[in-house]
């Protein structure tokens, strides 16, 4: 039974499944980080406000939504 599970995991299909799970977990951790980045950019902008503050906020949100898109894409195509 156990040896069957191990041999299934070590097969090409099993390795791809493990890779898929690993990629999605890393992406979810990265998603949390990108959310923290939005918060930190807003704190930085609050600390020192310039006419570039809007651009920084936009880039932080754009990055966050790109990561969301990547997680959805990974769930769909992997």
């Amino acid at each position: 039974m156990t040896s069957n599970i191990i041999s299934n995991l070590l097969s090409p299909a099993g390795i791809l499944t493990l890779a898929k799970v690993a990629i999605i977990i890393i992406e979810l951790i990265y998603l949390v980080f990108s959310f923290i980045a939005i918060r930190q950019v807003s704190l930085m902008n609050k600390g020192f406000t310039t006419y570039l503050s809007v651009l920084f906020t936009f880039l932080a949100f754009a990055h966050f939504f790109a990561v969301v898109f990547l997680v959805i894409l990974s769930l769909a195509i992997l």
Partner: protein, 188 residues
């Protein structure tokens, strides 16, 4: 719109304010680390952006059969993830440089420190509390590009401020000394 705010030595910046600024307070100078201090992260960013291209050239050169086959969908996801990571590295490094500012107003000096995305420290001291200002330039790069550390001794709670690796430190010392003597001259 000018991009003067992106310089490491900004005089009377337009449309800039900081948290806790008084209504009658005026920002005279915004200082940052010299542009040369950004070379290390710019070099790493360049490597991050060209790595996928180098790897694909390497694989093409030695033949795809030499390397384990990665399905196209997995490869696409990995490459998108790589470039997003490269982007946030550049963005974060730039923000840390941009927001690590030393602000000189007509009332006080403010030292804003951001390290990475998770640490920040903001300290300030009134100009009238400044007792001594010195600077040091040590190292070949600092001598060539004229940047160094300005040390400010104050009488307040935080006794020493350090403006690290700012451009033209002798001018900064001169500005601070003038402000102190002007302020103390008025009060005496």
């Amino acid at each position: 719109m000018s991009f003067s705010i992106l310089k490491s030595f900004v005089e009377s910046p337009d449309h800039a304010c900081f948290d806790g600024e008084d209504k009658d307070e005026k920002i005279l100078y915004v200082l940052r680390k010299h542009l040369v201090t950004n070379v290390d992260w710019i070099f790493v960013s360049f490597l991050l952006f060209i790595t996928p291209l180098l790897v694909s050239r390497f694989v093409a050169l030695f033949g795809p059969s030499t390397f384990p086959h990665i399905p196209a969908n997995y490869l696409s996801v990995i490459i998108i993830f790589w470039y997003l990571f490269a982007f946030i590295y550049v963005f974060e490094s730039f923000l840390v440089w941009f927001f690590n500012v030393y602000i000189i107003t007509d009332k006080r000096i403010v030292d804003m420190d951001f390290h990475g995305l998770l640490y920040r420290n903001i300290s300030q001291a009134p100009i009238r509390n400044i007792e001594d200002v010195t600077y040091n330039i040590s190292g070949a790069l600092k001598v060539i590009f004229n940047y160094g550390d300005v040390l400010i001794q104050t009488a307040g709670e935080k006794v020493e401020f350090e403006f690290e690796e700012v451009g033209n430190p002798s001018k900064v010392v001169d500005i601070l000394s003038d402000l102190v003597s002007k302020l103390k001259g008025h009060s005496e």
